[in-house]
Subunit: 149 residues, 2 copies
């Protein structure tokens, strides 16, 4: 293994320039990482994606790109969206549970006002934020996906 | 707009064959959808990704690919992973809140055993499933991403 050539340039059988934009994020010690990203996005697209973000954010962008590629290799139908769906389902489930508990607390408090602290105001709790609703709206607006979410 | 040629073949300026694998999912009525997917994944990779999933799952795969591409265009650093992070943070926040409420209920039940129904068994509630923990483990195992989760 030649440490002076990054995994991307090695995979693409090309000379690795000193200013190779992929080198810091795809070291030769982890060839599988680039192979996965290359399979899903292609080297050219990954290069463009990294070029368009500021230098100090490229490491995080490369991690996220790698995460997305891995998710799609592992789940060729849903990829990252499968993880998003699972998390949204969990939140919906928790929402039902927490509203039930709060309902019980409100009912109990009415009967025994001195026993429990005040619950949150009626309606959605603070954590069920507009962000979550927005994400759900984005999903639900898609007619093909709506059956799954 | 020629309805006999799909958005993909039109974008790529090629003849749209009768058995074009992209045509059912990238109609000429929505050229932006293919443009976005093409920018992030490339036509060749999208074609390969659709070819490797069974026919009855291709529509969903195309939707998810399109969703991922849109997320990355909108957020060039984090893409879909940004949405996953937000959802995980929400779940962690709710987990803290629900455990606090359940703690209050347990304390109250000890003092007033006749007033409230039995809480869930101690430990993680049912919705804080092994799936969620697995996803968090996957994230946490990534040294670059771990700072954000």
């Amino acid at each position: 293994m030649d440490p002076t050539i990054c995994a991307a340039c090695k995979y693409l059988r090309r000379k690795c320039p000193q200013d190779c934009i992929l080198a810091p994020y795809f070291p030769s010690s982890n060839p599988q990482r680039f192979a996965c990203v290359h399979k899903i996005f292609g080297a050219s697209n990954v290069t463009k994606m990294l070029q368009q973000v500021p230098g100090h954010l490229r490491a995080e962008a490369a991690e996220c790109i790698s995460y997305e590629a891995t998710a799609r290799v592992q789940d060729p139908v849903y990829g990252c969206v499968g993880i998003i769906t699972q998390l949204q389902q969990q939140i919906t489930q928790i929402h039902s549970e927490i509203m039930k508990i709060k309902g019980e607390m409100v009912a109990h408090r009415s009967a025994h006002p001195q026993h429990l602290p005040s619950p949150q105001p009626q309606g959605e709790p603070s954590w069920f934020s507009s962000t979550h609703r927005q994400e759900q709206d984005n999903f639900q607006s898609d007619k093909h996906l709506s059956g799954n979410f």
